[in-house]
């Protein structure tokens, strides 16, 4: 009964974005409490896993989320958009 996770890129309202730890390669930290505050406990399993925290190219993060978690975030006033991650091709 565990809901499947997919990859999403979440664009966050800058004023609600956490202050990220020192800029570093492959940063995944910074959005833990943001997610805990916005996803109800009953929706929190499986737990979201953050892939990247973006600071310069976007404000937000990439994460593995269930469809319900993604919808919950999208309806949050702290989030501009939740975009499914997709593959691109070399030219």
């Amino acid at each position: 009964d565990v809901e499947a996770q997919s990859s999403y890129i979440v664009h966050v309202v800058e004023a609600h974005a956490p202050r990220l730890p020192r800029r570093g390669l492959l940063t995944t930290r910074g959005y833990g409490s943001f997610l805990r505050d916005r996803i109800p406990v009953e929706m929190s399993s499986p737990a979201p896993s953050v892939l990247y925290s973006y600071e310069h190219a976007a404000t937000g993060f990439a994460a593995r989320l269930t469809e319900c978690q993604a919808a919950q975030l999208a309806s949050s006033g702290s989030v501009h958009a939740v975009v499914p991650d997709t593959m691109q091709e070399l030219h």
Partner: protein, 653 residues
Amino acid sequence: TTLTPSFLGLSPSSGLLKASNGATDVVIGVIDTGVYPEGRPSFAADPSLPPPPSKFRGRCVSGPSFNGSALCNNKLVGAKFFQRGQEALRGRALGADSKSPLDTNGHGTHTSSTAGGSAVAGAGFFDYARGKAVGMAPGARIAVYKACGEEGCASSDILAAFDEAIADNVDVLSVSLGAVGTAPNFYSDNTAVGAFRAVSKGIVVSASAGNSGPGDSTACNIAPWFLTVGASTLNRQFPGDVVLGNGQTFTGTTLYAGEPLGATKIPLVYGGDAGSKVCEEGKLNATKVAGKIVLCESGVNARAAKPYAVKLAGGAGAILASTKSFGEQSITSPHVHPATAVSFVDAEKIFKYIRAQTSPTATIVFRGTVVGPTPPSPRMASFSSRGPNFRAPEIFKPDVTAPGVDILAAWTGANSPTELESDTRRVKYNIISGTSMSCPHVSGIAALLRQARPEWSPAAIKSALMTTAYNVDSSGGVIGDMSTSDASTPFARGAGHIDPNSAVNPGLVYDAGTEDYINFLCALGYTAKQVAVFGSSISCSKRAGSSVGDHNYPAFSVVFASNKVAVVTQRRVVRNVGSDAAAAYTAKITAPDGVRVTVSPETLQFSPTEKTQEYVLTFAQRTTSSVTEKYTFGSIEWSDGEHSVTSPIAVTW
């Protein structure tokens, strides 16, 4: 890159290359499959280069088979990797080499050496294209951001690469990748989002238009802040002639590097008569193929896999037919077995010969490297993706064309030139085609312009490249289109082929900045949330009335999709960047069919205190004209007698 610098007119003693000192103060970031620097002098330390620019904050990380501190130097100054997104999408861990900047594919090594590789004498692919290989910006520093693997690139990894590249303070980003299929909306296209932030920081983002041509509206990376690049040919060919038993000869293209077949004609068979029309491995009947040349259709398996399948079945060689939509173009491949690729039309003639003969015969004559005026160059590659802009038809795309057919550049030692597992060859250089190859040419030229004109914005650099581009081939005709064998249109070649030495002195530039791009997004009618993806502080409420067509683009694209609209006006602002502060420019208009175009004012008078001038173009449908084409084209040229500042005009009916 043994030929493209001279094809582009680059010379150390004059023009842009001299004015820019080879871009020694510029860092080019390349988002791609990584880099394979070991044993590749394109990425070796260069004692003639000064230390890397102090503003660059990147570094080289290490991983399996990649010792960052040993492999990086004053040429290769940055190397990072991003694979978490792809692993998550695939649902499995990728190979160990994915956790390092090492390029196991070859694509990223090729693109990064094309943009900024050091000069290497005696380069070549076996005996093909031999010479001194050099990147377009030979003094530029290269920082690679590996976000792609064998199966492509996850958007989340690409965005991570943009994030790091911006933080590292690169000057130019080279992005030879794009969305699969139809170009997405800008707010859901994370490459466009990352590029928007990069351009807002003054980084030029050069991106490939895609290889989905020749159909309409196939271009990707079509946001106005991209410098979008199509692909065209050089004055160099690698002919492999098919000579039939009746004497008919068809010139194909090949990089086969083995024993020749000889002049004696040998039996010729159609793959479809021997078990597989596309020459799939294991499906060809050895008794029907042994000792013969096999005609193979395109599709299903990779081009380079077809001659290998023929080899396994005991065949002597292969003739590869191109696809119908590619017209006269066939794609060159580094075959492991005697083979050449011919156009669809020529393949049909060979097929008819086979059907007409009881004992058809042929041979293939490999002629090596031929540089010369025939056929004329450049010509637009059939595969190069085309306009109009699918998401914002008033924004002209692609922007320019550059060399992207049969380009020699550095290659990985971890993959064969054909990318076939059965191919055990390892080469230091490979010859491949794509808008991926034309894009880093423009990235390198943008790096030269960045150093020669440090005060120019990314939009000004793009404007300089577009308004000075040329549209005439080496025979004096309009640049041709290999998909039709006719003249290309601006929706294929953009504003034209880049002319670096003219771009350094364009006379006027059409500038644009973050505010202009925000106005553009608002004019598209995006919702507040959609626009906010590009920046939370962006609000369209105070920007009512802006028009997409008024975006200060160095080209014009007008849509008369509705009969109700008879007149369209577009406004532009140009800045004088020439040496004569009091220059006066007059307009010359070539109106597209079916449209009357007027300009106001007809003369732009600049002065030391009035460096910018505004003008308005009015496009009115001619009531007496009945246009039957979907698109018609013209141009506007502003000239002060010294500079020619030319913008294409496209009309969509």
